[in-house]
């Protein structure tokens, strides 16, 4: 008996034992297949769930930018919308003003209140911007003017409407706004005038006359704008 035969004798029954490794290989391949299947399923899920609305988001963003642009049809200046323009929006006028919205379902809302809706925009991508909404109003002041008695307007305004009707015998020669002469006539001012003043500072109106001016002889109408903060939401859904 050789030494090998002696060693082999004890394990005689395992005739098939020779390729036991193949079992391990099979199990390993099975595990690899399982892992591969899971990975493929995950990648498929990632592609299925990917956000494919890049176009909608882009359009919502650019429409919102156009709405608040300073030369936009709804804007008084950059980021400031005109209340009257905003409230009178119709789907047709909106699409005329913003041709890019044609063919898309767009919803424009201010503080959650829908201003205009074209198409059936329910879900989709929404872009929000904080804006000011400006409302114009007119305030008329008719105080008595005299030497050293000026009128300081409580709100800033871009233009003043003046109606000068001095009592008989009194001649109004100049009107100053913030010390600058805005109206002057040595023969006397009378009638309605419009003067432009700076929107960036508080205006003080002074009237020079050769006599006293009772209340109502000079009526000053200012057009201040009142602004409120609001959230503009533009939604594009396909």
């Amino acid at each position: 008996m050789t030494a090998a035969e002696v060693r082999g004798a004890g394990r005689r029954p395992s005739e098939q034992r020779g390729q036991a490794n193949l079992l391990a290989v099979g199990v390993a391949l099975l595990l690899v297949t399982g892992a591969l299947g899971v990975a493929v399923a995950f990648s498929d899920g990632a592609f299925a769930g990917v956000d494919r609305t890049a176009g909608d988001r882009r359009l919502a963003d650019s429409l919102a930018a156009r709405v608040v642009a300073s030369d936009g049809p709804l804007a008084a200046r950059e980021n400031v919308l005109r209340r009257d323009a905003v409230e009178n929006l119709t789907p047709a006028s909106f699409e005329d003003a913003f041709p890019a919205a044609r063919g898309h379902a767009v919803r424009v809302a201010l503080d959650g209140h829908t201003l205009v809706r074209t198409g059936d925009a329910t879900g989709g991508e929404t872009v929000r911007r904080i804006v000011l909404v400006a409302r114009r109003q007119s305030r008329t002041y008719a105080p008595a003017f005299g030497a050293g008695v000026d009128l300081t307007l409580p709100r800033r305004t871009g233009a003043l409407d003046l109606v000068v009707r001095p009592p008989p015998g009194t001649v109004v020669r100049t009107v100053r706004a913030d010390g600058r002469i805005v109206l002057r006539d040595p023969d006397g001012l009378r009638g309605a005038y419009r003067v432009r003043v700076s929107r960036y500072r508080t205006t003080t109106v002074a009237v020079d006359a050769n006599g006293s001016l009772p209340a109502g002889s000079v009526r000053v109408t200012a057009h201040p704008s009142v602004t409120e903060k609001a959230t503009l939401a533009v939604t594009v859904d396909g």
Partner: protein, 151 residues
Amino acid sequence: MSTDRGLTPVVGKTLEIGIVLLYVALVTTALYGGVVPHARSDAAGVVGDRALAAAATSVEDAVPAVPASAVTVRERVSLPDSLRGRPYEIRASGRTLVLESAAPGVGGRATLSLPSRVRAVNGTWHGGRTAVVVVRGNASGLRVALEGGDG
């Protein structure tokens, strides 16, 4: 029989190598035959959408927000070289950018939201070449051109 027992590991390893090679070949065929091309097409579609959106944003951003008496803007636009390994082009058609590619599932249109003083948008960008957006004009009218640049 004990004399050829020494062959056992050789046969075993050969069998293992054969089986693993077969398996790898099978899996490779399965992946490259269906899964990978599908994933690449999906990815190309998404990348195409994004590239088109980015291109449209670049064109819109190149137009000055405020009217000016003389406008000359040249801006480089960053675009992918190819989509799914295929060339593509972005073409201006009216106020719309159109993405076209030979790759299946890649394409789209993006409406440009431009101020009314923009009179016309023309030109084409090709993937892989430098893309430049050029805006010229004055306060009353602007022309936007998609041009290939010299780098």
